[in-house]
């Protein structure tokens, strides 16, 4: 847990991957360009002394991931968001099955999400059921701009996509994470357009729609939709690292999010291994809104808000009881491995009630 102003902040990293972009796994030029582009994002926003080499970045493996996420207690839990990209990578970039190896080893620390692709039709529906049965996934990560043969993307408000959302609702898979980032589709239609979230969210009010990367570069469209649909959430992956090298911009983006969505619907995510929570969590928690933005927007990035954004909000979506977790983590395997028991020893919240 992160110690901040004498208080403990329980951090759930809402967006992590265990990927393989080794040259042996790449089957299409797109795969190499994809990891190079990721690496540019990595070096752009990572402090110089914390940057990885491209070789370690291609495949870092499970042990390193566990240490990076939890080793210094930067994050307490993490949620796997798979990105298949099977047209680009032989065995996929990071699939549910690959992530499951680590998630099932530490089920107390990881949440395992699945995925679906409506273009897979009946087989896709079966696959979704299979993921549900095998792993009891509480959510899915969707990559609407993923290439599949001739197709360069799909939309969440397609009729076919609605069949999959109905299936999610039926199976109790409540959290729908949609990647909405920069346009990379080599065509004119914008497969990361956030407009499709609007119809999907109002048609499925019992599901939660998390727009990853807060729609950047469509922050404006995203906020406008989220202001009207209260089951739409913003995932901070990509916006968060602005805290490190563009603090003024971070202040501005965060102010907009708090103004349009409020403090209950913004969720922290590092997008590991794009960025590493071992430095990012501190940057985000210690960030401050500028005086100018606080006055202009009338919002605060105070400790209560930080607690919500860094963990409590997503804990609500995933039915995670933070107090129970604190007790469990006093001596779980990972706390033992990294000597973290003391981090979870405090009785502070319970004592406050006495």
């Amino acid at each position: 847990m992160y110690q901040h102003n004498g208080e403990e902040i329980f951090v759930i990293d809402g967006h992590v991957h265990l990927w393989d972009a080794t040259e042996e796994n790449i089957k299409h030029d797109g795969g190499e360009e994809f990891i190079q582009c990721f690496y540019d994002y990595h070096t752009t926003f990572t402090p110089e002394d914390r940057q990885w080499s491209i070789d370690e970045y291609r495949k870092y493996g499970a042990d390193r991931m566990v240490e990076d996420l939890f080793g210094n207690a930067a994050a307490d839990m993490a949620i796997f968001q798979p990105t298949y990209l099977t047209d680009f990578y032989e065995d996929g970039f990071n699939t549910t099955e690959q992530n499951a190896e680590l998630a099932t080893e530490h089920p107390e620390r990881f949440v395992l999400n699945g995925t679906f692709d409506p273009r897979d039709g009946e087989e896709g529906l079966e696959y979704l059921e299979e993921l549900h049965e095998k792993y009891d996934i509480p959510g899915v990560k969707l990559y609407t701009a993923e290439w599949r043969g001739e197709s360069k993307g799909w939309r969440l408000d397609d009729e076919e996509a609605f069949r999959f959302l109905e299936k999610c609702q039926e199976l109790g898979i409540e959290n729908i994470h949609a990647h909405k980032g920069p346009t990379i589709r080599p065509l004119n239609r914008d497969a990361f357009d956030v407009a499709d979230i609007d119809d999907a969210a109002s048609s499925f009010p019992e599901l939660n729609f998390v727009v990853e990367h807060v729609g950047l570069p469509r922050l404006d469209d995203f906020c406008w939709i989220a202001a009207q649909e209260n089951n739409v959430y913003g995932g901070l992956a990509v916006a968060a690292p602005f805290a490190q090298n563009r603090p003024g911009k971070f202040s501005e983006i965060m102010s907009e999010l708090l103004w349009w969505l409020g403090e209950d619907r913004v969720l922290f995510g590092s997008d590991y291994a794009l960025w590493n929570p071992d430095w990012l969590v501190e940057e985000v928690i210690e960030a401050e809104l500028t005086q100018e933005h606080r006055a202009e927007y009338g919002v605060e990035w105070d400790t209560e808000t930080k607690k919500k954004v860094m963990g409590e909000n997503i804990a609500d979506l995933y039915d995670i009881d933070i107090e129970t977790k604190r007790r469990e983590f006093r001596d779980d395997e990972i706390s033992q491995e990294f000597g973290l028991g003391d981090h979870y020893a405090s009785e502070e919240p319970a004592a406050a009630d006495d």
């Binding site: 752009t44 065509l187 004119n188 570069p217 911009k249 501005e252």
Partner: protein, 275 residues
């Protein structure tokens, strides 16, 4: 072809003229000049032929955006009377081969990308609309600072502006010099009961995009609109204004990402290649 070679020196365009033309080309997503953004690597002038090399921040930069910038660069330079042919070369882009060939052969986007569904014009229109909303914020801020209230601002029509220079014809104004910060425009309010003088630059910048998006052309057209292009209800003035602010934050945030990616990639490409 050129016919003016007898006197030798006057047929070639000046580097400044070419640069000024390129300065009018914007990254459609950021609404900022490609010159200012440092996408222009090289300008080569050989008589009446001009070559321009461009590199965008990332190989993944939307091909539709890359297309718009290369086409606009070509068209802007070829509009100079001293230029016969402009050749644009995009580098380090995943679709550079298709784009370079098609732009320089004068093909359409659909010919360059045969399996594109729809027209690049729709994407351009959407980005122009966002740029218009972001520019509206600055124009409205200028009017608020001058003391007008929301109700007066939403009621303004094009005819209520007086003293604007018409630059629609695109004639040369040496950039940076004639756009004097002291230039003002008179804005008439309350049924022309009185006028206030406000700096003209943000108003002109806004009008440029409002015209491009076909929102404001006739004297009776409402000056300011919602992002959807509708007249603004005075009750929702604050909300619409806040959306303009949001559009600016979106653009400048994306600009931050693009700047960073460009620097990162330059760093990567400068490293000696592995043997």
């Amino acid at each position: 072809m050129t016919g003016t070679e007898s006197d030798g020196s006057t047929s070639a365009p000046s580097r400044t003229a070419v640069r000024d033309r390129l300065d009018r080309v914007t990254d459609p997503e950021l609404d900022r000049s490609i010159v200012e953004l440092e996408y222009v690597d090289r300008i080569e002038i050989d008589g009446d032929r001009v070559g321009v090399d461009l590199t965008l921040p990332t190989a993944w930069c939307s091909p539709a955006f890359a297309w718009m910038m290369t086409v606009d660069a070509r068209d802007e330079i070829e509009s100079l009377p001293t230029v016969d042919d402009a050749r644009i070369t995009l580098h380090e882009h995943m679709h550079e081969a298709e784009i370079n060939r098609s732009v320089n052969e004068g093909l359409s986007f659909a010919e360059a990308f045969p399996n594109a569904d729809g027209d690049v014009a729709a994407v351009r229109a959407e980005l122009d609309e966002k740029a218009r909303v972001a520019r509206q914020y600055d124009a409205v801020e200028t009017l608020l600072e001058a003391g007008l209230d929301g109700e007066a601002i939403v009621g303004l029509r094009l005819r209520d502006l007086d003293g604007l220079e018409s630059t629609e014809d695109g004639n040369e104004r040496s950039v940076g010099e004639s756009e004097d910060a002291d230039e003002t425009v008179a804005v008439y309010v309350r049924e022309r009961a009185f006028a206030v003088a406000v700096p003209s630059a943000p108003i002109e910048r806004y009008l440029e995009k409002a015209r491009e998006t076909d929102l404001v052309s006739a004297p009776d057209d409402r000056l300011f609109r919602t992002p959807e292009g509708e007249p603004i209800d005075p009750d929702s003035f604050d909300l619409v204004h806040q959306r303009g602010r949001l559009a600016q934050v979106n653009m400048s945030s994306q600009g931050g990402i693009c700047d960073g990616l460009r620097e990162a990639r330059e760093g990567r490409l400068e490293e000696p290649a592995d043997d």
